[in-house]
């Protein structure tokens, strides 16, 4: 098993008295596309900033490419491609100027590759950055992150503000340019339907901790909505992994993770109700269950 590209252990961070990260644990396998998911303001950007040494955590360890984020800050930044959320660049510079300027900070800058990228990403060399459209701006930011051929790329909400076509195109570039080269891509988003086709793995951040981390397709298969037929108070009797309970017509709808035959039997036995249906959920529903699900153990029908 090769070294993970990114490793986070017990990360804690507070902005003043507001504790944003409360013990985040995360492992990003090398060469994977990893989707980092969470509602707005959940601390995704904070986590990413800590990875790059832009913020100092209260506790915990972060390693990127085997390097410590705090102790080897500059080395991490030199070896990682970073695209900030809604990245504003120097508006007065021309595209070719900012590209050359950026290159002076990275010893591994590949000028030939960068020129190819400028054409591939359809960026006008002579235009000033302030005249670029949002889509062009995002692609430029991506280019600047890739110019030194990093093995690990960290993108913070890279498709923010892009229209659906531009978003799809952007992700296409990420797959085409990076996955083919075995580059590890760690990107954050709050749109699960966007992450699903692209990511190998997904981690969901809620209330400062990771509540779920899994392979994308396994996540879909393991979370199900179970309909129980019953009347009055239905008690689930301590079945594990309940994400959400609600009433659905005459039935109780229990959204549960890691669903299996064993769980099925346990549920029927403990609640004393018959299982009427087992529904598949789309990823948005799964995400919702993790984030705003009602974690109770009883439903009234």
């Amino acid at each position: 098993m090769s070294e993970p590209a990114i490793k986070i252990e017990g990360l804690r961070f507070s902005y003043g008295r507001n504790e944003v990260l409360r013990g985040v644990d995360l492992v990003v396998p090398e060469g994977s596309i990893f989707g980092f998911l969470g509602p707005n303001g959940s601390g995704k950007t904070t986590t990413i900033k800590v990875l790059l040494g832009l913020l100092k955590p209260d506790a915990g360890v972060c390693e990127v490419g085997g390097l410590d984020s705090q102790k080897d800050m500059m080395a991490v930044r030199r070896s990682v491609g970073y695209m900030a959320e809604d990245q504003q660049m120097f508006g007065w510079m021309r595209v070719e100027q900012i590209v050359r300027w950026m290159g002076s900070f990275y010893p591994g800058w590949d000028e030939k590759f960068v020129q190819e990228l400028l054409d591939f990403l359809k960026l006008p060399r002579k235009s000033r950055v302030k005249t670029l459209s949002k889509g062009q701006n995002s692609r430029l930011a991506l280019l600047l992150a890739l110019g030194h051929r990093p093995k690990i790329v960290i993108l913070d909400d890279p498709t923010l503000g892009l229209d659906p076509i531009a978003r799809k195109d952007f992700l296409r570039y990420v797959i085409g340019l990076l996955q083919s080269e075995g580059v590890t891509v760690f990107f954050s988003s709050h749109l699960l339907y966007e992450i699903e086709p692209v990511a190998d793995y997904v981690a969901i951040l809620k209330d400062g901790v990771i509540v779920k981390t899994d392979k994308t397709d396994q996540l879909r298969q393991s979370v199900k909505k179970i309909l129980l037929r019953g009347a009055g108070d239905i008690e689930l009797g301590g079945v594990g992994g309940v994400l959400d309970v609600a009433r659905m017509g005459d039935n109780a709808a229990v959204t549960i993770e890691d669903y299996s035959e064993t769980k099925r039997q346990a549920m029927e036995k403990k609640s004393g109700c018959a299982i009427v249906d087992e529904l598949d959920l789309n990823l948005d529903e799964i995400f919702e269950a993790y984030i705003i699900g009602n974690r109770g153990q009883r439903v009234q029908v």
Partner: protein, 125 residues
């Protein structure tokens, strides 16, 4: 429906209607991933499954092609695939109060239409 299943269904549909014919080369994993803006591993999964089902075959060094002898899938297996689809359709029909006669009529219509498309594609070749 999971994305890889959607893609599998799409490829099967293209083969059924003749848009993809026996011996045709399908795009490489990279090409298809780029076209659909989908993770390459997902495409890999799709191709692997279709290869196992003998719908596609891989030729080392040349690429991936539509398999020429789909009859190599055992009859029972083929029937099972179709049976599942029919069961889903039956459930829906009952829910929507569509009679079995109407269903049969519709099924014949659809079947013939696809077959026709397929014949057209073939003759154009």
């Amino acid at each position: 429906m999971p994305i890889y299943r959607q893609i599998i269904d799409q490829i099967r549909y293209q083969i059924a209607t003749g848009a993809l014919k026996e011996g045709d080369q399908v795009p490489s994993v990279r090409q298809l991933a780029d076209k659909l803006a989908v993770n390459q591993n997902t495409i890999l999964k799709v191709y692997n499954q279709l290869c196992t089902e003998k719908v596609l075959r891989v030729e080392r060094g040349s690429g991936t092609f539509v398999a020429s002898d789909r009859q190599s899938i055992p009859v029972a297996e083929r029937k099972k695939i179709v049976a599942k689809l029919l069961r889903d359709a039956a459930v829906q029909a009952i829910h929507l109060d569509v009679s079995i006669e109407q269903m049969k009529e519709q099924l014949e219509k659809e079947y013939e239409a696809i077959k026709l498309l397929w014949k057209q594609e073939r003759s154009e070749r």
